[in-house]
Amino acid sequence: MAGPALIPAGDFRTTYAADTTIFPTKTSRNFAIAGVLLLCLAPQFFGGYWLSILIQIGIFSIAALGLNILVGFTGQISIGHAAFFLLGAFTSAYISNNAPIPVFFAIPLAGIVTALVGLVFGIPAARLKGLYLVIATLAAQYILLDFFSRAEWFSGGSVPASAEPFSIFGYTLRGDKQYFYVVLAYVLASYILVTNLMRTRDGRALVAIRDHYLSAEIMGINLTKYRTLSFALAAFFAGIAGALYAHYQQVVSQEGFGIERSILFLAMIIIGGTGSIMGTLMGTAFVVLLPESMEWLSLHLKGGAIDHALSLNTNITFLREIAIGLIIIAFLMFEPDGLAHRWRQIKAYWKLYPFSH
């Protein structure tokens, strides 16, 4: 719990405004700003590989953020998020290919279209709870994917749809170095928007529904409205992320967006910490980096002493998969509340250092 006790002594607030800032202390705000500035320099220092990892983390974290609104804040589990991601991707590709609308505008438009579709699939949410709702989202996943397979005009059917590269006012961005800034801008914007949302009226309403929907209703919160709204919001960010992904890859294909990916999105927010905005980012990074680091590890084991001892060669791929699963399990055993929670505890520890209680 990051209670009031954890704000360093001497940091007094004199106005309510000062008490509602995103960052609890000046230092943390400065750190955040410095972090963003450092990220801006990333393309200068990182090779294509790391840059693409960063871009992927950025894109997926936007989608995960949307899912966290739904799961973490409103308390409704969805395993259809990948389908909305894909819908955003196809929509943006479709819009930018077929209408005289530059990609710059196609991306938010795709977000809005996805949000509207999310709204439709959110209707059952007004009535269903828990797992029953999960299955409704599973249905959304299947129904949307089925639609993509059928609607050749929209998705290209068995041929992947192509998406234009990102362009703004006639200037086309090419390559990861430039696209990185697009993603960074979207990540920043999304995270700030959601942070703001959560500290204002509608955000509180969502959390209230999660914690106690019956009393939320009696406090004047329209359950139906907010439950469907949170679906729309989740879909919106999934759509934006999907659109960004489409214009990054420049092709959009159904491949790889089944339930497994929906579950992966879920993994991101659970590992990061449900209901934590920063946790979402951390969780996404974890989920993206885990296989990469295992890859790296297995590469370095190859040909080494351990390799010979265990005669790994092809087995290593299975060991690696097993390791990925086990690390996730071990991580959750060690930190069931997610990375965000551990992060807060570390911060608390240092603030109170050297007193442990």
Binding site: M1, Q345, A348, L352, H357
Partner: protein
């Protein structure tokens, strides 16, 4: 702790070994929140002991520390020991503690909402394997006839009915000791009296030792032989029920006014006297 204000009294010549003794325990929630700061208390076999204290003093935490349920709330006994019937029980799983004979009636009823009253009562007897379960069921229904009438799911019972069910469920376990967390909460005056009569009765007839946490101090002290008063994680005062009843502070803060003149809730002054023992 040294700052416990003991009321002087002649020590009885034969001291029976306490059934439960809690020695100097410290409890931390969530690795950081220190709630009990060196609390000690003793419950003699066959006695009713009352544990009183303001909201947030840590009464429920104390009970959960004894029953082992603290674990389920990210809490931990970090110091001190808890002895029950001659053996240490701190750190043991709650279900094992129940099998050793301590049963806690938790604050806020905590009945199993999606089962019937009967099933709830049967669950109370989960750790028993004797044949008298059915007889005890009748006993409980005798105490609380209302429960027999309500055959639907327990979750739809009214607050007070749920409270009766919770107490009945404890009786079904036939424990050596019951930890009761605010059994009178939400009960009508008539039922409060009944509940305390039942507490007294099970203590006397069944020989169950009871540690009673109550806000209704007047009623609690009327059944208890001994009482502890807690503030902010420590015992600040203890003594026999009579001694406590006569203590001025206890009168003022727990019994409702010094002297026997009850002051009206309507005409309260806003100022508050500082408690003497703080």
């Amino acid at each position: 702790m040294s700052d416990v204000a003991h009321i002087e009294r002649p020590s009885p010549s034969v001291v029976p070994p306490p059934l439960l003794s809690v020695r100097n325990i410290e409890v931390v929630y969530d690795d950081v929140i220190l709630v009990l700061r060196g609390l000690s208390l003793e419950v003699p076999k066959g006695a009713i002991v009352a544990l009183l204290g303001a909201n947030g003093a840590g009464k429920s935490t104390t009970l959960k520390a004894i029953s082992g349920l603290l674990k389920t709330e990210d809490g931990e006994v970090t110091r001190g020991e808890i002895m029950f019937d001659g053996s240490a029980i701190a750190g043991i799983d709650p279900d094992k503690i129940v099998r050793r004979g301590i049963f806690q009636v938790m604050e806020g009823r905590r009945i199993v909402a999606d089962m019937t009253s009967l099933e709830n009562l049967k669950l109370g007897a989960f750790t028993r394997s004797d044949r008298e379960v059915d007889a005890d069921l009748d006993m409980v229904f005798n105490y609380f006839p209302r429960l027999k009438e309500r055959t639907g799911l327990a979750g739809y019972l009214s607050g007070g009915e749920q409270q009766m069910l919770a107490i009945g469920r404890a009786l079904m376990a036939r424990p050596k000791m019951i930890l009761m967390d605010e059994p009178s909460m939400g009960l009508s005056p008539l039922l409060v009296k009944e509940v305390f009569a039942i507490i007294k009765k099970i203590n006397r007839d069944l020989g169950v030792t009871i540690l009673l946490v109550e806000q209704n101090a007047r009623a609690a002290l009327s059944v208890a032989s001994h009482g502890y008063i807690m503030e902010q994680g420590k015992v600040v005062l203890d003594g026999t029920a009579d001694e406590l009843r006569d203590n001025e502070d206890v009168k003022e803060f727990y019994l409702g006014g010094a002297g026997d003149q009850r002051k009206s809730f309507k005409n309260l002054k806003s100022f508050k006297r500082r408690k003497r023992w703080l």
